[in-house]
């Protein structure tokens, strides 16, 4: 028999996806739409990749500014770029 569609609670997943959070956010945004169970994980994946890109961009901005600390300006500039990219 194949595995279950849900991950058992016993398993300790290190990078857990806030599936409830994502579902709630989607429901709040688009109440008339439904989200599949697997789609939830892909959304999480998408978020991970977005955050990853954002962080990289922020780091690069901070490094270019020769600052050892990521500042708000760096993040802001990075967000502009990345959000534009991920608009789809």
């Amino acid at each position: 028999m194949a595995l279950s569609t849900t991950v058992s609670q016993r398993k300790m997943i290190k990078r857990k996806a806030p599936r409830g959070f994502l579902k709630r956010v989607f429901k709040r945004q688009k109440p008339h739409l439904r989200l599949e169970t697997s789609g939830d994980l892909l959304v999480h994946l998408n978020c991970l990749l977005f955050v990853h890109r954002l962080a990289e961009e922020s780091r690069m901005n901070a490094y270019e500014a020769k600052c050892g600390v990521i500042k708000k300006e760096h993040v802001q500039a990075a967000a502009k770029v990345i959000l534009k990219k991920s608009r789809g």
Partner: protein
């Protein structure tokens, strides 16, 4: 030979045992047996000359030197005879030599005779043997008769020593046993016999080689009994502090030993033998039990007490304290061990209260440590005993009494003891149950109190908090991916970005799903989104990304995999 000897002698400007021994050995090795004899004789003479005050060092060198010195000092005595037999160096020969030499020479003579015999043997034998023999030589200085037996035996092996030890024991019957056994390979009986002969060198040897030295056995078994008796006496004495303190108990021969360990116990011990002997016995038995129970505690409190004894005296005191005062157990429980010990140390004198406290502390400690049951039994026993013993036990009431008369004090003490007993019983009994009750109550209380407050305090606002907690999850990931220190303003900025991102995400998914004519968002929509975002392209597929970034459990749910039985999961 003479030259070598002269050289050796000349070198002895500072007659160190090592140098002397070396010289003897050198001289002996280089010469024939006959020469050795002569050389040895000379060396022995020198050894003999060395003052007996020199410590008997376990090292072979020192011994040999001493022997050489002695040999020098003593004139040649039957050297030829001895030398003739030296070569054989068998136990028989050694014994023969002893027999030959012993009767011929006076008390001093045997030493010289033995020494020369020993020196050659030492020289020939290994250094260990020589050391042993040297010890033997030294022994003669201290106690001539023993040397006779020691001399021939020293150079021999342990077997020889054993044989000779028997012989030596016979010789040493009258000799006092004061010295420590020779540390070097002298564990055999011979060494013990040697020790018997030694009078003073024992200490020096131990000092030179503390590791090898053995301390004289302390007869603690007797001390315990005596100490217990003393405790009894002291307990009674506490009732009449004047009498007890001043009068040391003469009945205990081991008091001296105890005194050293517990100076304050002496005044306690001063009580007269009027104390019932039965009590001491009872206390002794109790003390044993108490010791076992309190052993751990007293040991812990031992250092605090600063008692030199390993803790028996403390235990005994504790037991004694228990016997005396039980009523304070409840109050004293809170007192730390140090506090308990302090009264013991400082107070021992007349203060019945102190003793009470001590007892209480001791009893408290016992309770705390968990030996309540044993303690209770002990206490109950004590109570019974105390009731039985009419004589004054408890120092509490009679602390102020003068030395006027022990009878008066015992009477008062008895009254006080009875009162104390009455108190103690309820106290003791109540002490343990309250503790348990308290513990149980304590355990129960926190449980019910914890749940309600947490449930109430965990009521966040519905909208913001869970949303923020979810966002914080990704913010943490952002900080992790950044791998650089970040300002809090930057983190807040990240939150805003995430909010915007989610909005964009949902809008895009909606567009895609409605474009597909569905009302539910499917994974294909997500893949399309990612493709448009540029994350997924012809080189990098969605599955690759899933494999990279998602844990295994999610990957199993997302990527279809073939299982046995021609089944695919997830089903497509």
């Amino acid at each position: 030979m003479a030259e070598a000897m002269a050289d050796s002698y000349s070198q002895d400007s500072e007659p160190t045992t090592r140098t002397l021994l070396r010289r003897v050995l050198d001289t002996a090795d280089t010469r024939t047996p006959q020469r050795r004899r002569s050389a040895r004789i000379g060396a022995q003479k020198s050894l003999l000359e060395t003052p007996s005050s020199r410590r008997l060092s376990i090292s072979t060198k020192t011994n040999a030197r001493q022997r050489s010195q002695r040999a020098r000092s003593i004139g040649r005595l039957a050297h030829v005879q001895i030398s003739g037999h030296l070569e054989e160096q068998t136990p028989r020969t050694l014994l023969k030599n002893i027999l030959l030499t012993a009767p011929e020479s006076s008390i001093m003579m045997p030493e010289s005779v033995v020494k020369p015999v020993l020196t050659p043997q030492v020289v020939q034998s290994s250094r260990q043997e020589s050391s042993q023999s040297s010890l033997e030589l030294q022994l003669p200085e201290l106690e001539p008769p023993t040397t006779l037996a020691l001399g021939p035996v020293a150079p021999g092996r342990r077997k020889r020593r054993l044989r000779l030890s028997v012989f030596q024991q016979g010789i040493d019957q009258g000799l006092p046993l004061s010295q420590e056994p020779h540390g070097n390979a002298s564990a055999s009986s011979l060494t013990s016999s040697l020790n018997l002969t030694f009078a003073t060198p024992l200490q020096p040897q131990s000092v030179k080689r503390p590791g090898l030295a053995r301390r004289p056995p302390t007869h603690r078994a007797v001390d315990v009994g005596a100490f217990l008796q003393d405790l009894r006496d002291t307990s009674l004495a506490l009732a009449s502090p004047g009498n007890s303190l001043r009068t040391p108990v003469a009945t205990l021969p081991t008091d001296t030993v105890l005194e050293d360990t517990q100076p304050f116990s002496q005044p306690l011990v001063g009580h007269s033998p009027s104390v019932h002997h039965s009590l001491p016995h009872l206390f002794y038995t109790e003390a044993k039990d108490a010791e076992k129970a309190v052993g751990h505690r007293t040991q812990s409190t031992g250092p605090r007490l600063q008692n030199h004894s390993p803790g028996k005296p403390a235990q005994l005191l504790a037991t004694k304290a228990k016997n005396f005062t039980m009523s304070f157990t409840n109050t004293i429980r809170a007192i730390s061990g140090k506090d308990e010990v302090e009264p013991l140390q400082g107070g021992v004198s007349e203060e019945a209260e102190e003793s009470m406290e001590v007892n209480l502390s001791v009893s408290k400690v016992k309770d705390t440590t968990g030996t309540q049951g044993s303690v209770r039994t002990e206490k109950s026993e004590r109570h019974t005993e105390m009731t039985e013993a009419v004589e004054a036990k408890e120092p509490e009431g009679s602390s102020d009494e003068d030395i006027s008369g022990r009878t008066a004090s015992p009477e008062l003490v008895s009254s006080t003891t009875e009162f104390l007993q009455a108190r103690q019983l309820p106290f003791l009994e109540s002490a343990p149950p309250p503790n348990t009750a308290i513990l149980s109550s304590e355990q129960l209380e926190p449980l019910p109190t914890r749940l309600p407050p947490r449930a109430r305090t965990l009521g966040p606002r519905p909208h913001q908090d869970p949303h923020k907690t979810g966002l914080n999850h990704y913010v943490k990931l952002f900080s992790f991916y950044a791998r650089m220190p970040m300002e809090k303003a930057a983190l807040e900025m990240v939150e805003k970005c995430l909010d915007k991102y989610f909005q964009h995400l949902c809008d895009d998914l909606e567009v895609f799903s409605t474009h597909a004519g569905r009302k539910t968002v499917r994974p294909e929509d997500l893949e399309l989104l990612m493709r448009r975002q540029g994350l997924v392209n012809d080189q990098v597929s969605l599955h690759v990304l899933v494999e990279r970034h998602l844990p295994l459990e999610y990957r199993q749910l997302l990527i279809p995999c073939a299982f046995s039985g021609n089944s695919v999961f997830p089903a497509q």
